[in-house]
């Protein structure tokens, strides 16, 4: 009885009996992630005197066949850059993840112009650029002498937050004078305990 059931299941898996039933299935990722939900925030209308609020676009790609640690190098490379500069840098980077991130940035740029009422597609900069761990698969890797290792097939997610406007200027490096000022301030902050 068991064996017959097993055949039935595998048979059904290989043959698509009801091709029309696929039209009611959604994408395999049914859980909408927190990053995607950040796009749903609606702000109240601004008063005429207020400065114009910059548009913010959250975009991500899930389950990229790449390591999250290797992707991290590319994510930190483009952090804080304007979108044109980031696209240029990724175009001439030899890593596999660079191609993927470039596609994600172009998608996000398109979304910004069509959906989020951004006027100029170059007027965006990357405020946040993160990687996350995707679902891992396990496989067996055979070694000699009857030994084996468990191979992990890694996948990662990539998240990006684009903000409208020119990129913020980089922080100036800390000079010796600033360090000295801080030291003197620390000395001045000291208090004498158990005294009048």
């Amino acid at each position: 009885m068991l064996k017959l059931n097993a055949n039935y299941d595998t048979f059904l898996a290989s043959v698509n009996i009801f091709p029309l039933s696929n039209m009611y299935t959604g994408s395999s990722r049914e859980i909408i992630g927190k990053w995607e939900k950040k796009n749903r925030v609606v702000y109240p209308p601004q008063l005429p005197g207020e400065p114009r609020r910059p548009a913010v676009i959250y975009h991500c790609r899930r389950e990229i066949k790449y390591s999250k640690d290797k992707m991290w190098y590319l994510a930190t490379l483009i952090k804080g850059m304007s979108i044109d500069q980031a696209l240029a840098q990724l175009q001439f980077n030899d890593k596999k993840g660079a191609k993927v991130i470039r596609e994600v940035l172009l998608e996000a740029q398109e979304l910004a112009v069509t959906k989020y009422n951004v006027e100029f597609k170059s007027n965006l900069y990357i405020a946040k650029s993160l990687t996350g761990k995707g679902q891992y698969l396990k496989k067996i890797r055979y070694h000699g002498r009857g030994k084996f290792g468990i191979m992990e097939k890694v996948r990662c997610h990539y998240f990006v937050k684009l903000v409208e406007g020119p990129p913020p200027p980089p922080e100036p490096p800390k000079t010796g004078f600033d360090q000295a000022k801080e030291y003197v301030q620390q000395l001045r902050n000291r208090t004498i305990i158990n005294a009048l």
């Binding site: 898996a13 749903r40 209308p45 601004q46 910059p54 548009a55």
Partner: protein, 282 residues
Amino acid sequence: MAAPTQRGLVRLPLRVCLQGAESLLNPIRLAQSSLVVPVRTKKRLILPPRVKTKYTTPEEQKEKMRASGIVIPHEKLERSITLACTASIFDPYIPPEGDARLSSLSKETLKQRAVQLKQSTISQLAIRKVKQYDPNFSSKTFPEMAQKIFIEAHDCLTNFNKDKLHSLVTERCYPEMVRGNRYKTIRWSFVESLEPPRTVQIRHFTMMNKDNLYGQVTVRMHTRQTVVIYDQFGRLMYGAEDVPKDVLEYVVFERHLVNPYSSWRLHGKIVPSWAPPKDPTY
């Protein structure tokens, strides 16, 4: 509560003895006990490829299925669809050029033209057909009702009251009104009506069968409205606050006449080619 053993026998109370017997008698429990529960392995994300694939084409697989005796019940995928509205505006009204403009023609000739249009034969036939199903219909009182529906529908749009909006607007018009507005703030208000609304054209159509009747009425409205749209981040996108604009519209209302519980709903607008261009969006 077992009694002390006597001659190696355990004397149990009657209900304990009959517990097993009860399960045998109860048919549901019998079925459960006889069902074979297959042991599940861990759910794998990817199934490994099948090694021995003897039959690949669907015809071969069907043959093998028939031979092995597996019967898959053929389910009929039937989903009933109710058509509560037509897909478009049939025989659209062609508004005369210079309708709301000051032209060299005198007002009287314009009025005459308007009256002529209303009295065209097709409209008369349609009115008769509509009165057959809806005896309270009158082409004179209808425009006021239509304007009320129009104002209510737009108010629902500003509040995003989806349920009420569905009852005031047909399924064909709803996506046109709502698309792209999900994350936007819309402020709309109706200031006043410059001219009393009037019916301009009435038509009736059948879909699928000869009995399935839909009626479409075009109403001409010359009104003053204010509209402001803010985008997702609260920035002004279109229009200006408290700046009323004169609007000449030809609005089409539809009703599924055969259904006694249907009502007249907003179906669409006719935008003439000579309409003034819209304001730019920011």
